[in-house]
């Protein structure tokens, strides 16, 4: 059990460097995965073959009302245990292996399975449907050795594994899927132990997160999440960010822009210069969410069902570039990767430290800097 070897009963967090990429069609047009594979291949330098993956939104239109669970199993025992639990808590509409093809370099893989399901919630269960799903994901990840939920959102899926991202893309036959948002990740972990579940993107519900960096606030972010019901089982920084996003946006109902400000709050001296109302907002956010501040170098792209968000740390210790053409928004570690697939861009810009780039389906502007009157 590779995962057990890594995780055992200890916290075991592996720092990594990465290439990240996100692209979306503002108009909601769906396109296949070959473009993002090409972009990721351009940033091969940023990976070392020990992890790659993609998230794609809009790929399961026929099951759009169901939760699509992507599972990675080490063995059949894990699969059987998991399916028992799934059928206990959910109505499983469809269960099938995730299609793949072996490539030159990827010649073996864990069991990869997907399920389309709806929760079977008791009437006296006062949890929201989403919380129910989150708890289910936590249960599987924590309790079933050798089973890992790679994604659990609707009309989206996460495809990831050990290998260079373009190989993972090929392996999962992503050119055969069509989505309106694609997020990619190539990983450069500092240790050699590789595990398919440990690759990015990391997902929960509709969230998918790719991340480049190492969070120096990890210890406290994790304790904060733990106090809020999120068990970090993967010991990756990405997992922490995904949970934080879920907590802040879904559960605490913060707008994306403010979620970004919780993760990367303005400096106190900046807050002091703000108009009073705005200063109060940011001060309160900082005080209340001090343990959700994500410190240390990072660049992330968060995907969600109607958009994506790019963000770097407070002092921009990791690269992030954004670009747009008529319909598309791109966010990437490197501009070259964007130009690889779209040489004629309307605008290319470097988001400043801690300032989110947010793209939403149907919206026209991406960067939201001063949205508070």
């Amino acid at each position: 059990m590779e995962r057990e070897k890594q995780v055992a009963d200890k916290d075991y967090r592996v720092p990594s460097a990465c290439g990240i990429f996100g692209m979306m069609s503002r108009s909601g047009r769906r396109f296949d995965g070959s473009l993002i594979i090409k972009a990721m291949a351009n940033m091969r330098e940023r990976s070392n073959g020990l992890g790659g993956g993609f998230a794609a939104y809009g790929i399961y239109p026929q099951y759009s009302s169901l939760y699509a669970f992507h599972l990675i199993y080490d063995n059949d025992v894990a699969k059987n245990e998991t399916e028992k639990i799934l059928s206990l808590y959910c109505q499983v509409e469809k269960s099938e292996p995730i299609p793949f093809r072996y490539t030159k370099r990827i010649t073996s893989a864990p069991l990869l399975w997907r399920y389309f399901l709806s929760p079977k919630k008791n009437a006296d269960d006062d949890r929201t449907e989403e919380d129910f799903i989150v708890d289910l994901v936590m249960l599987i990840n924590r309790k079933i050795p050798g089973a890992f939920v790679a994604s659990s959102g609707k009309n989206m899926g996460i495809f990831k594994g050990v290998g260079y991202p373009e190989e993972i893309g090929e392996f999962f036959r992503l050119d055969e899927y069509e989505g309106y948002i694609w997020i990619g990740h190539g990983r450069f972990p500092t240790n050699s132990v590789a595990w398919w579940g440990g690759a990015h993107p990391f997902g929960l519900l509709d969230w998918s997160v790719v991340h480049n960096g190492e969070i120096s606030s990890y210890g406290i972010n994790r304790r904060y999440l733990s106090a809020n019901g999120y068990e970090c089982t993967l010991f990756t920084d990405t997992e922490v960010i995904a949970y934080l996003v879920d907590l802040l946006v879904r559960r605490h109902q913060l707008p994306f822009e403010l979620m970004a400000k919780v993760l990367c709050p303005p400096l106190w001296e900046e807050i002091e210069r703000m108009p009073q109302e705005e200063a109060e907002l940011h001060q309160n956010l900082r005080i209340v969410y001090s343990e959700a501040l994500v410190n240390g170098p990072f660049a992330i792209i968060v995907g969600f069902k109607d958009g994506m968000l790019g963000l770097t740390d407070r002092i921009k210790l990791r690269p992030l570039v954004a670009a747009e053409d008529e319909d598309m928004l791109y966010i990437s570690s490197e501009e070259g990767a964007i130009r690889e697939i779209q040489p004629s861009l309307k605008r290319v810009w470097m988001p400043t430290a801690g300032e989110p780039v947010i793209g939403k389906i149907g919206a026209t502007s991406y960067a939201t800097e001063h949205y508070i009157s």
């Binding site: 200890k10 916290d11 075991y12 967090r13 592996v14 720092p15 990594s16 460097a17 500092t190 960096g213 190492e214 120096s216 606030s217 990890y218 210890g219 406290i220 304790r223 733990s226 106090a227 010991f235 559960r251 605490h252 109902q253 913060l254 707008p255 822009e257 403010l258 709050p265 400096l267 106190w268 001296e269 109302e277 109060e280 907002l281 309160n284 956010l285 900082r286 005080i287 209340v288 969410y289 001090s290 343990e291 501040l293 994500v294 410190n295 240390g296 170098p297 407070r314 002092i315 210790l317 939201t368 949205y371 508070i372 009157s373």
Partner: protein, 508 residues
């Protein structure tokens, strides 16, 4: 006079070649250890009077003085040490409890010295605080669980709906712990107040009330309400930025306080609202708090009295059941909990209590922080650690263990000149700190003392920033409770478990 077997603690070495008989030492020693002989125009010394405060040594213009430990050698004995024998001699002669000052000086483990910090290498750049912003600002007070905002539809605007309970804003997570006017001089109080104001932090009145001249520092004052209720009245409560109910003190858990009548000068009597010259006795418990619900009543009484505009906290000594007590206090409505560890200081305490009661602050912080988190109420209360913080690394380790801020007492006194001779209870502090004798207290120039305090805190803050930067962190809140950045050396399994840290050598 029967033979005394007490031997001196210190030996005064006077270099006759250098001594110019200027008598600075004679004038400086309140214990009269130096005597001038006008006939011979010479100064000589009486070792038995020396308390080892080193005031004379510091002021001797020709460096003619050197105070050393008195060489008292008995036959080697690990059990019956000279110190233990001297205590026995003293008690055999006096029949009294041995009093002492400052914090426990015994050889219990100092966990700070067994905990190491992390730093970034390659995968995560360290941050240079000289080039990049580095934030130490800290808020003490109850925090809501989340922030609610109001979105306006027509314009893409957001307004904050959540109002925060009262908070103390600290520019650096270091405050000056409770030291009463009475235990320390007015000048010392003033220096602490001024330094707190300049730094942007807080000092604590202790249970000595608040002298009218210090009301102007109210915005940087935590006023204490202790079992004696000295100086407590509505103006006092409203003068400070926060209120701290003192249940216990690390140096003497379970023991009250006693300011002898001779120290109750006119000014102190006015400040404490007790008659001049009477002993100021603080009972061991609050006689209106015999249970946690009584504490809750007091907390809310104080909140009522201050219209819920000020955080109200509770200070306890770190004792065996500290975690459970702390959660009880949090649930009783306290906005912050101060935990004073084994090595916390005092102006006067029975030596036997000081040296034998309580638990180290390191363990107390760890278990309290963990317990509060386990119970999901960590954000409801801030945690202030006190008791023996000696340097910035102690502070940063305390924060990483889970404290929001720390109180420093002895370190602040040392910055003002204290040499930790432990004679505070005599009222004869030669450094002008723990005394009400105007001849002695003016030795503490509040301008100098405040400047030195500010320097110390600034220096520590710079060091905190360096250490944070090394860990790749640019805001102190990302370290608070972030025990990932701590590793233990030379600690037993159980100690690591209680501290919630991994042993050195183990990665993430």
């Amino acid at each position: 006079m029967p033979l005394s077997t007490i031997f001196p603690e210190f030996k005064i070495i006077r270099d006759k070649e250098k001594c110019i008989a200027c008598q600075v030492c004679v004038r400086q020693c309140a214990f009269e250890a130096h005597i001038y002989d006008p006939e011979k125009d010479e100064v000589y010394s009486d070792d038995s009077k020396c308390v080892g405060c080193h005031r004379c040594e510091a002021l001797c213009p020709t460096d003619a003085l050197n105070i050393i430990k008195y060489p008292f050698d008995i036959k080697d004995n690990k059990n019956w040490t000279p110190g233990i024998l001297n205590d026995i001699y003293r008690q055999a002669e006096s029949g009294a409890i041995i009093l002492t000052g400052m914090g426990c000086d015994k050889d219990y483990p100092i966990y700070w010295d067994r905990i190491l910090l992390n730093a970034s290498q390659v995968t995560n750049p360290s941050i240079d605080p000289l080039r990049e912003p580095m934030e130490l600002r800290t808020f003490i007070g109850r925090k809501p669980r989340y922030v609610e905002v109001e979105r306006s539809q027509e314009r893409d605007t957001v307004k904050v709906k959540t109002q925060l309970p009262p908070q103390l804003r600290l520019e650096t997570p270091i405050m000056f712990s409770a030291m009463s006017y009475g235990s320390i001089s007015f000048n010392a109080c003033q220096a602490l107040a001024r330094a707190a104001e300049e730094i942007g932090t807080y000092y604590n009145t202790g249970e000595g009330g608040l002298h009218p001249d210090l009301y102007k520092f109210g915005a940087n004052t935590i006023v204490q309400v202790a079992s004696g209720r000295f100086g407590v009245h509505p103006d006092y409560l409203n003068a400070g930025a926060a209120i701290e109910i003192k249940i216990g003190q690390g140096a003497k858990p379970g023991i009250g306080g006693h300011l002898p009548g001779e120290k109750v000068t006119e000014e102190i009597s006015r400040t404490r609202m007790i008659p001049t010259g009477t002993d100021a006795l603080s009972p061991a418990p609050h006689h209106d708090i015999y249970s946690i619900e009584d504490l809750r009543q007091l907390i809310y009484a104080l909140k009522e009295a201050t219209e819920y505009k000020k955080p109200v906290g509770v200070k306890i000594a770190a004792v065996h059941n500290v975690a459970a007590i702390a959660t009880g206090i949090a649930r009783a409505g306290a906005d912050f909990i101060t935990i004073d560890g084994l090595r916390g200081g005092t102006g006067a305490a029975p030596q036997v209590i000081r040296d034998n009661v309580g638990i180290p602050i390191e363990l107390a912080i760890a278990v309290v922080d963990s317990r509060l988190r386990e119970e999901g109420i960590r954000e409801e209360v801030s945690l202030i650690a006190a008791g023996g913080f000696r340097k910035s690394s102690d502070v940063i380790k305390a924060i990483a263990l889970g404290a929001d801020a720390v109180y420093i007492g002895t370190a602040a006194l040392a910055a003002m000149g204290c040499h930790v001779c432990q004679k505070c209870y005599t009222g004869k502090c030669n450094w002008g700190i723990a005394t009400q004798d105007p001849y002695l207290s003016k030795r503490l120039n509040p301008n100098i003392a405040a400047r030195r305090l500010v320097n110390l805190i600034n220096a520590w803050s710079k060091e905190l920033k360096e250490m944070l930067g090394g860990m790749g962190i640019n805001a102190i809140e990302s370290l608070r409770g972030n025990r990932e950045h701590l590793r233990g050396v030379g600690l037993e399994e159980w100690e690591l478990r209680l501290l919630g840290i991994k042993p050195a050598g183990e990665g993430w």
